[in-house]
């Protein structure tokens, strides 16, 4: 039971949990958190593949590591953009439901005062 197997199974479980949270949670902020969970599971899978490719004196293949570093930064910027959209939705509609049939709440404020 090497590190690769243990963490590989952990990463697969994280992907499954993130996907379930993304579909089953009704609140957008929970969906964003679950999406980040899903993303980190995928990055761990890259890390597993890199660990198996350890050669030439390195403990981990450098190319997947570089891809994951890029991925982490892009995932963070996507999360920040999603949260900015969510906060703007909250400001305009007064609630964070994604249900388009919901009535606007009394605290909605489209002009953004």
């Amino acid at each position: 039971m090497s590190a690769v197997t243990v963490f590989g199974l952990c990463a697969a479980a994280a992907v499954g949990l993130g996907l379930y949270g993304l579909i089953a949670n009704p609140q957008p902020l929970r969906k964003i958190i679950a999406f980040n969970l899903l993303g980190s599971g995928v990055f761990l899978l890259f890390g597993i593949v890199g660990r198996r490719g350890a050669a030439a004196g390195f403990g981990n293949d450098p190319v997947p590591q570089a891809l994951v570093i890029t991925g982490v930064v892009v995932a963070f910027s996507a999360t920040a953009l999603a949260i900015a959209l969510l906060l703007r939705l909250f400001q305009i509609a007064g609630s964070t439901t994604l249900n388009s049939r919901a009535a606007p709440s009394p605290r909605s404020d489209p002009s953004g005062h």
Binding site: G8, Y20, N36, G50, G59, P62, A80
Partner: protein
């Protein structure tokens, strides 16, 4: 089953337990805190996988800055908890569970059946390391061998900033992001914001500099610099800059701009786009990294500050 494997199994179990708790807990604020703890423990997993550069990035950007942006949103949206909720029906939740379990099982089977002489690019990275003169293989890959990816990633960061800024309301167009933070000027937060940033700036620049030969690099250093800037903003010592200010936009464009210029220089004077002449490779890469550091620090800080909310005249 030696002690290292026991530690790894324990770590994986705690990480999975935190992930399950984050998905299942009803209160959103608690889910955010659980996610931050999860991010930091995943950084430990990365160290265990011998990928220290990625561990630094995950701890700084994934767990650290990502956690801060989620915490801020969870705090602002706290009162909406009671209003939502139309939970999806049992059928939807059951099929979601089956789908997720199937995908997790498929990934687990794939992990267990990966090919045995594992394919690897590490020998080619070592063979070509003489082209840049740096010994950190991940920095070599990021800045030289896959430099195009890094340059396009900077452009993606710019696009995210444009997206966030475009969400300003009409009055606040071009204004200052976020609320005006106030803190007791004699209190602990202001004290920390005066004490820590000088050390933090040194640490951030050091992480960039040492990235050439040891784990580190521009992204990790930029995250540390961004967090120092945010600390000063949150303590109320400095206000967020108006987004229409010219020097701010120059800094944001400077990183990808310099990268693009060096790339085009490689096209005109060298053999291909982003080809570094071997004699000047290290100085060119270092100058690109310095511009990248400033751009990344500013971009990450502004992404966290959010959409402009106050008009710039005030």
């Amino acid at each position: 089953m030696n002690i290292a494997t026991v530690f790894e199994i324990a770590l994986a179990a705690v990480v999975l337990g935190l992930a399950i708790w984050t998905i299942a807990v009803p209160d959103t604020y608690s889910a955010t805190v659980g996610f931050i703890a999860y991010g930091l423990l995943v950084a430990l997993i990365w160290v265990r996988l011998d990928a220290v550069d990625v561990a630094l990035t995950e701890a700084a950007i994934g767990g650290g800055l990502g956690g801060v942006v989620l915490l801020g949103a969870a705090a602002r949206l706290r009162d909406t908890e009671a209003m939502t909720t139309e939970r999806p029906s049992l059928i939807v939740r059951l099929s979601a569970a089956i789908l997720s379990a199937a995908i997790a099982a498929a990934l687990a089977v794939t992990i267990l059946l990966l090919p045995d002489p594992a394919p690897t690019l590490a020998p080619s990275v070592v063979a070509n390391a003489g082209a840049t003169g740096m010994t950190n293989p991940v920095t070599n890959v990021l800045m030289a061998f896959r430099g195009m990816d890094t340059m396009l990633e900077k452009v993606v960061l710019l696009l995210a900033i444009v997206g966030v800024w475009s969400l300003a309301s009409d009055q606040a167009w071009g204004g200052r992001p976020g609320p005006r933070h106030q803190a007791d000027p004699n209190g602990v937060l202001a004290f920390l914001a005066r004490l820590l940033p000088p050390a933090g700036i040194v640490v951030g620049i050091y992480i960039l500099w040492t990235g050439a030969d040891h784990p580190g690099g521009a992204f990790q250093g930029g995250a540390v610099l961004a967090s120092m800037w945010l600390l000063v903003i949150m303590a109320g010592l400095v206000d967020t800059p108006p987004v229409r200010s010219r020097w701010l936009r120059l800094i944001l464009v400077g990183g990808p701009g310099l990268f693009l210029a060096v790339g085009l220089g490689g096209l005109c004077f060298g053999s291909a786009f982003l080809a570094y002449p071997v004699a000047f490779a290290k100085p060119l890469i270092l100058s690109i990294e310095v511009a990248m550091l400033l751009t990344i620090a500013t971009t990450l800080g502004l992404l966290l500050a959010g959409a402009p909310e106050r008009s710039a005249e005030r």
